[in-house]
Amino acid sequence: MKNKINRNFYAYLFIIPFFTVFVVFQLYPILYTFFLSFHKWDGISKIVNVGVDNFETLLRDKYFSLSLKNTVRIWLGNFIPQIGIALLLAGIFTFNRIKGMTFFRAVFYLPNLVTAASMGLLFNLLFDGNKSVINQILMNLGIINTPIEFFSSPIFASSIASYIQWWMWFGYTLIIVMAGMTSISSEIYEAAMVDGATSVKTFFYITLPLVRPTLLYLMITSIIGGMQLFDVPATLTNGLGDPQKSILTTAMYIYNTGFKNHNMGYASTLSVGLFIIIAILSVISFRIMNAKEEK
């Protein structure tokens, strides 16, 4: 009995560092951000309570709604092709004996590991200007006659941001989808084969429904990550989301409001607003995916 108490003492001792640091460096910042969302603060002078004023401003703030639209557009533009390509590749890899499968998979995953901020700048250099590398490639191949000003077009800028995100994440998504697929027992596939199902049919009627939990996991983590998108669009152009604020994401707007305009209170309100939207989107996607399962 005494031994048991002694052991429990160690059990608590072992988790104390984790929870202490968690409370100080994670929980406190979250709670304080909520607290600040009802205040005015420039980062130096005294904090002033302004009630729900910040939230009223938020609802009328056209940059907030614009930044949300941009974030969702850039996210959809990378998430849909990401899942599509990952499913296609996972289908190819699981239904065929592909030589060099591990090599291909390893290469596809590489862009996920490198510094996103560096990649933003790299793609800026590759695309920006009349003499940019991409323009020279396209002109040499005869695809275009005059160079494209990629970063004066909002559509191009937003598409490039989506493309970089897709490029960085499709390999990761592939690995997760494949892990979900290989956990499906081979007996199910064999039974389908005996019944005469083609591999395309097997994929749509057996594999896809069975990897739904995996897809749900990917969708929710991707929403949480994608709605906070910052590094790539912030380094892709001037950090203000130009051209015409087309790649101003909400996270960038929060950063600019708090640390460039020193409006920490309102930046906190923006954070709370985005937090609520992420929560709503996660719940909706959870409901949609689960509803399908019940049918």
Binding site: R7, N8, Y10, A11, Y12, F14, I15, P17, F18, T20, F22, V24, F25, Q26, Y28, P29, I30, L31, I85, N96, I98, T102, R105, A106, Y109, L110, V114, T115, A116, S118, G120, L121, L122, F123, L125, L126, K131, V133, Q136, I137, W167, Y172, A179, S183, T214, Y217, I220, I224, Q228, F230, D231, A234, T235, G239, I254, Y255, G258, M264, S271, I278
Partner: protein, 276 residues
């Protein structure tokens, strides 16, 4: 014959598709390295698909504006302790949750799981205020200490401890008179070191790539980490494209080299994490 040639065409298309995606994945890195070896004049006047001879010149230009190695070492100063903390404290916390029964265990573990889903970048204002209050602005501590509380490391390592360490082994060590703390350090930690190593690779990379946090907390040139430094070079180098490509390359090549050696480890690590 018809079916056979059809399946041949299909097979060819599959490989063509895979090779195209391989090209897409690697080509930007190739352009980065190739352009890093060309003069800025070369870069704006012609298309360069092979290595040039201006590497030394670009390096000198790059170093004349900022000392890239200072950014490199500042990143290491953050990433190495962060990684060590996640490995050690992640394993310690995971061990406690995996092998002890104590009051409040389930609630605390639920809190830990929920914390994994929290959008961390959204508390950046609170994080700034915390470090202002603690007088930690422009220091590396706000980035190394949080390694102690890395929930995904705990989650991952808890699974490994449960799978690979039988209770009987722990009991045997206790009978031999080992103290609880010694037991963890001498027995548990060595046994799960492969899992800890995998976890450490991921945490090192994510710490190395962290941009927003250091951007907010660090305020002097000599403290900037690699990503912060890279994000500022566009304004510093203006039209020195060669120097910029080279700087970007230096910021990502360590990760690419590391990946060449342990890609198998890394991919197995993601898979193991996803299956739980």
């Amino acid at each position: 014959m018809g079916i056979k040639s059809k399946s041949k065409v299909l097979n060819f298309l599959k490989y063509a598709f895979l090779i195209l995606l391989t090209f897409i994945s690697i080509f930007p890195f190739y352009l980065m390295i190739v352009n890093g070896t060309h003069s800025s004049m070369d870069i704006v006047t012609k298309l360069n698909l092979w290595f040039g001879s201006s590497l030394g010149e670009n390096y000198a230009k790059m170093q004349s504006n900022v000392n890239i190695w200072s950014g490199f070492f500042n990143s290491l100063k953050i990433s190495v302790p962060y990684t060590a903390f996640t490995g050690y404290f992640g394993a310690l916390t995971a061990y406690s949750f995996a092998k002890y029964n104590f009051k409040g265990k389930n609630i605390l573990f639920t809190i830990l799981l929920v914390s994994m889903m929290l959008p961390s970048q959204l508390s950046i204002i609170g994080f700034y205020q915390l470090n202002l209050k603690l007088n930690l602005l422009n220091t590396t501590l706000p980035f190394s200490i949080p390694g102690i509380a890395n929930a995904s490391a705990v989650f991952f390592l808890k699974g490994i401890i449960e799978q690979s360490i039988p209770d009987s082994m722990i009991e045997a060590a206790r009978i031999e008179g080992s103290s609880e703390f010694m037991l963890f350090n001498r027995l548990i930690l060595p046994c799960i070191s492969p899992g800890v190593a995998t976890m450490c690779i991921f945490n090192f990379v994510s710490s190395w790539n962290n941009y927003l946090g250091p951007l907010v907390i660090l305020s002097s040139n000599d403290k900037y980490t690699m990503p912060v430094m890279i994000s500022m070079i566009k304004g510093l180098y203006l039209t020195n494209y060669g120097a910029m490509y080279l700087a970007i390359a230096i910021s990502v090549i360590p990760i690419i080299i590391m990946y060449l050696f342990c890609s198998k480890y890394i991919i197995n690590g993601i898979t193991a994490g996803a299956e739980k």
